[in-house]
């Protein structure tokens, strides 16, 4: 349980959470083992929750509209995937496939949702983290749009 708590504490979304809530979340997490070739998540399918890799390696692959599949990343121990899927269960934008035997800590979105319903203060602590992330992304987007516009003027 202590190991689960330590892994959860490293998830940015939970960085502001009181220890007792992290403990509560650790209790509803489950450990799952995937064989090489197993899909942890499938592109287009609803996200089932958050995955923290305990050991092993996975590849993140994306299938384009033309049907071609491209590997976009590899993830290993400590990496977190589907962080925001615990909140909205949004359809996955890529597939994640185990490259070798991989053990993950999984926090299912339905478990998480039941947990925050019982402890709405958790939602209050998570809210600023997501808002900050939105602000950062929005600022990068605005800056990039600006650069593109300037680039257009010069050419």
């Amino acid at each position: 349980m202590v190991k689960k708590e330590a892994a959860l504490e490293k998830v940015p979304l939970f960085s502001r959470l009181n220890k007792r809530f992290v403990k509560g979340l650790a209790e509803i997490c489950s450990e799952r083992v995937f064989k090489p070739g197993d899909a942890l998540m499938k592109q287009g399918e609803e996200g089932i929750g958050l995955f923290i890799i305990v050991s092993g390696t996975v590849k993140v692959v994306k299938t384009g509209p033309d049907g071609a599949t491209v590997e976009i990343a590899q993830n290993g121990p400590g990496d977190v995937m589907g962080e925001l899927a615990v909140i909205d269960g949004y359809a996955r934008t890529a597939s994640v496939i185990a490259v070798e035997k991989t053990t993950c800590l999984c926090l299912a979105s339905w478990e998480f949702n039941a947990f925050i319903k019982a402890h709405p203060e958790v939602a209050m602590e998570i809210l600023p983290v997501v808002v900050k992330r939105f602000r950062e992304t929005n600022a990068s987007l605005m800056a990039l749009r600006e650069t593109k516009k300037d680039g257009g003027k010069k050419s």
């Binding site: 709405p120 939105f134 992304t137």
Partner: protein, 147 residues
Amino acid sequence: MNKEEMLSKVGLFAGLNRKYVKALAAVCAEREFKKGDYLMKQDESGIGLFIIIEGSVRVVKTDSSGNEVEVGHNGSGDIMGEMTVLDGASRSASVIAESPTTCLILASWEFNSFLKVHPEVALDVLPFVVKKFRETNEALVGLKNAT
């Protein structure tokens, strides 16, 4: 349109139970601005959410070289500073009234004390913020890939 109806049009509050919208309407204030008045000033911390009831404003941004660029116009029904109620972040642009303008204002400190009393409201607001983040992130990734 009454305050409650105006607030229910705000995306951030779309998931809220009617009783909460009603309570938020009670802590909103109506303010009038004369032509030329600043509703918000770039780089100053945001005081909250503005809904234009009547009038028109222009959104002006001063860039790093000191040039003022007009980035938009807003009018009746438009919402500004929506996310500011959540974080009071400093404004990325100034907003100036170009005609006599009346706004409904929900101050971020009012919203924060409301949230403290009703933490369950955070549950209903969270998915909207996540959605906004996803949309922005998608646009960013798309734009990066286009380079």
